[in-house]
Structure formats: structure tokens, C-alpha cells
């Protein structure tokens, strides 16, 4: 099995045919999970080690939906979101925690998906830009970026929107300094920061208007 083949991606929750094949072909996952469960009650059981060439069964709640996946220890959450789950709004750019294009929320906190191992996201809740959609309609932060022209080329925009979403979940009515701080981990090479700040403040209004 070529584990990097993006066509091997289970796009649906539950045991899809491909997900089932992945589980079978990587072997012993059920056994490993059982050992892990036993370990939580009897601490002397050996820890659940995943080999460098093996895969580990994880469950990550992505945009409200529990996704059961087999992942290599070295895979980033970014790789898994894009290449295994087909959620391509989260952008790959620097892959070294310097640009913010891969910003997602993990348990409500802004994080770089490129700097997070997928195995470390096991048991946690991840929100991506796709998760801000309200059906086919844009969510309030997305709408604010459109209204305020908070983008030029648009490549950094999903990350900027997630940074603003994360900020507003903690600080619903931020000052301009709090907005600057909130998006300080997100670069925009077009330099449209002034519009991004405006979009963040508009987003706060739109979210406030909804509640």
C-alpha cells in the first residue's frame, strides 16, 4: 500500500472500503488498541509503541465529526487534513511554523497544523475553515473578510480567518491591539493587514449580531 496516495483517502466517516483496507493492511491495530485500553486500567502494562514504519489508530473530531484514521507517527495534522481527509482549505506553505497559512483550532485554541503531529491530535477536536461554513452559506468571519476585502491573492486567508475565529471565541469584542495580536502569527505577503484588521472587527459585529 502506498500510504501517501491521496486517492486512498477515506472522505466519509465510518468504515469506508478504503478505511477498512487501510486498517487491515497495516495490521494489528485492533490488538494494539486493546493493549492501550488495558494499560489505562493496569499501569504496569507496556506502553503502546507505534513502530517507525507502522501506523497508529487515532480518532480526531474534525469539524464536529469523529474521524477514525490510521496515521504514521511522522505525519503532521496538516498532511492528514489535506491528504487523508481531503480538507484542502488549510494551506501548506512554510511547514515550519512561521507563516500561519495552516492555522486551525484545536480544542478552541489556534494552532499550526504543520507543527502538530496527527498522533498528538488523537482525542482532540479540530476545526478547519470548512467547519465555519453554515451549510452552503459563509460563516460570519468568512462573510466579514468578503465584505471588508480582507484579502488580495487569498492564499493566507483561510489561516487569517481561523486566527480571527480563535480570537473571537476567547475575546468576542477585541480592541484593535487585541486584533493585531490575534493575527500576529499569520503572514500576508500581499500586505493587506489593514483590511484584515477591519475584517476582524466586522466579524466581531457579525458574530455579536447573531447571538
Amino acid at each position: 500500500m502506498d500510504s501517501h496516495d491521496p486517492h486512498d483517502t477515506p472522505h466519509d466517516a465510518g468504515v469506508s472500503r478504503r478505511g477498512f483496507l487501510t486498517s487491515v493492511s497495516t495490521g494489528a491495530i485492533g490488538v494494539v488498541s486493546a493493549a492501550h485500553l488495558a494499560a489505562s486500567t493496569a499501569n504496569e502494562a507496556p506502553p503502546d509503541m507505534t513502530a517507525a514504519d507502522g501506523q497508529r489508530a487515532v480518532t480526531i473530531t474534525v469539524n464536529g465529526e469523529a474521524r477514525r484514521l490510521s496515521v504514521e507517527p511522522r505525519w503532521s495534522l496538516l498532511f492528514v487534513l489535506r491528504e487523508r481527509l481531503g480538507l484542502t482549505a488549510t494551506k501548506t506553505s512554510c511547514e515550519r511554523g512561521e507563516c500561519g497559512a495552516c492555522t486551525v483550532l484545536i480544542d478552541g485554541e489556534t494552532r499550526y497544523a504543520c507543527m502538530t503531529l496527527a498522533v498528538e491530535a488523537d482525542g482532540h477536536a479540530v476545526t478547519t475553515l470548512e467547519g465555519l461554513m453554515q451549510g452552503e452559506a459563509l460563516g460570519p468571519v468568512q462573510r466579514a473578510f468578503a465584505e471588508e476585502d480582507g484579502l488580495q491573492c487569498g492564499f493566507c486567508t483561510p489561516g487569517q480567518i481561523m486566527a480571527v475565529e480563535g480570537l473571537l471565541q476567547k475575546t468576542p469584542a477585541p480592541t484593535i491591539d487585541e486584533v493585531r495580536e490575534g493575527v500576529s502569527g499569520n503572514l500576508c505577503r500581499c500586505g493587506t493587514y489593514a483590511h484584515i484588521f477591519k475584517a476582524a472587527q466586522r466579524a466581531a459585529e457579525l458574530k455579536g449580531a447573531r447571538s
Partner: protein, 323 residues
Amino acid sequence: MIPPFAYVRARSIDEAVALLARPESRPAAGATDLIGCLRDEVFTAKAVVSLGGIEAMTGIAETADGGLRIGALTSLTTIVKHALVAGRYPALAQAAASVASPQLRNQGTLGGNLCQRPRCWFFRGGYDCARKAGDTCYAMQGDNRYHCVFGGSTCLIVHPSDTATALTALDAIVSIAGPKGTRSVPIQQFFVLPEKDMTHENVLAPGELVTTISLPAPRAGLVSVYRKARARASWDFALAACAAAITIEQGKVTAARIVLGAAAPIPWRVEGAERMLIGRRLDEPTRARVAAAALNGATPLEHNAYKVAMLRGVVSEALGSIG
């Protein structure tokens, strides 16, 4: 793609110690530095030992004597937002707030921030440099604009940690667990100069990990501050930094710690300058004399003479914000 490694989650400190005793096992706390180093192949890992599930290593608790115990896995964001940290140890809160970006502070931990590897571009680049057990420190001949002005010998890194500088001024104690049991080290003895150990920034032996950082109860009259100068204000490592912890009683300084950051391979305490403050009022002439004295003995390299003036400036600003 990062080269493959095995992965295991430690469920206790003892289990982490046992797992880390294996060759080329690396601990993962926030893992922001770990992932960067693995991706750039600064070093390799046969196994990554996740510490995330170890409850005993998280959180901030007040000690019986009025100090604080901070679990090594406590996130920098948690430290920034903690009322007791901001109230009693503002230098630490300010240093933690100045680290990287909101995303990285949400993920990065205090223990990880202390144990992060240097940012030297030769060390991070593909150079087989002295810190990687090679023959040469490339910063001696190459572009050394971000390198040290104190304490360099056969390697010219600066320590990259903001919180290390603040915690040194605050006389923190670092608790360590390892194969031979636990030990506690005053933070000034935690970091080591290249002349003592060229390939490690601290005293951690194989299999050891930082479990807790403790702060002594603040004396009455203690004021502390962290100042950081950087090329990009929104998010960058320090070009020059200063943490000062000054105790003032009846208008006069009775105790002082002044520590320079981004100046040396370790947080660099300037004791001569500290002594000049004792018994004095923190007035402008005293601050200027002390700021100048703090850079006595600095030995700038070909491209970093600016750091001497910049460090003098951050010392002056730090003392000025207290005085």
C-alpha cells in the same frame, strides 16, 4: 516529510524516563521545536516520547511558602494569562508573552521553551558545526550578526529562550527526573557554556527531563521586568533582551538581578552591574552607569557590534521601567 520515527505516549514521569533512556529517543511536549529540528534534520529521532498525557507535569500551583510551582508542560499562553504569574513575576509573564506567535504559545510549553535548541543559522542549516560535534564553528568566519557578545569560545550561539532569561533573574529552580532519580538545580546552574559542553545547552543527561520550574516567594519590594528588542516586533527571536528583578526597600535597592538575553550561549547574569545598584536609589544617573557597566567585557564579533548598544539600551529601558 519528516524522516520516520517510532511514537509512544508516556503515562507517567517514570515511564517517560524509562522510554527516554533508549538511544535517540526525544521527548515531545509542545514539540514545536522538535518538529522543526526533525524536519530540517538538525538531529534525528528513533522514537518520539509524547509527554502530553502526564498530568503531574501540568499546571500552576502556589507553594506553601508563597512561591509558584509551574509544571514543565504548562503552555506559554497559560503562563501569560495566569494572575499570580502576572502579579508576582511580571518578568516571566512578559517574557512568555513575547515568545513567537499566539499559535505557538498555545502549543509551546515552559519546559520546552527552556530546552529548545539554538537558532544559529549554521546549526539549523546543513552545517556539520561544532555544536553538532563537527570541527568548526562557522560563525567565527561567517555571518555572525545574530551571535554572542559574551561567553563564546568554540561555539558562538546565543541562547534563544525568552523565559530562560526571565527565570534566571527570578532565581527559579529547575526540577529534573532521570534514570538516577530526581534532582533540583538552580537555573543558573542549569545552562552550560560551550567551554563546558559544546553540544548541549543545559545539564540534562540522557534520559533526563525537566518536570517542574519553581519560583521562590517574591520578597517584599520585588519588582521585575523583561525587555526584548527584535527585528520584527510582532513575532521574532530577541536581538537583545534584559530581565531585571530588583528589590527596593525604603527607596533603595537591597537586591538585584540583571540578566541579558540573546547575548551569550546562556542567560548572562551581569553581577558587577548588579552590585553597583545595591544601596542606591534607582535614579537616572545610576541607571545609566549600571547599563554601561552591564556591557563591560563584551567582545562583539565582526557583524554584531550593534548588539552592545542594543543590550545597553534594553538594560536601560528595563531599569527605567522600574525606577
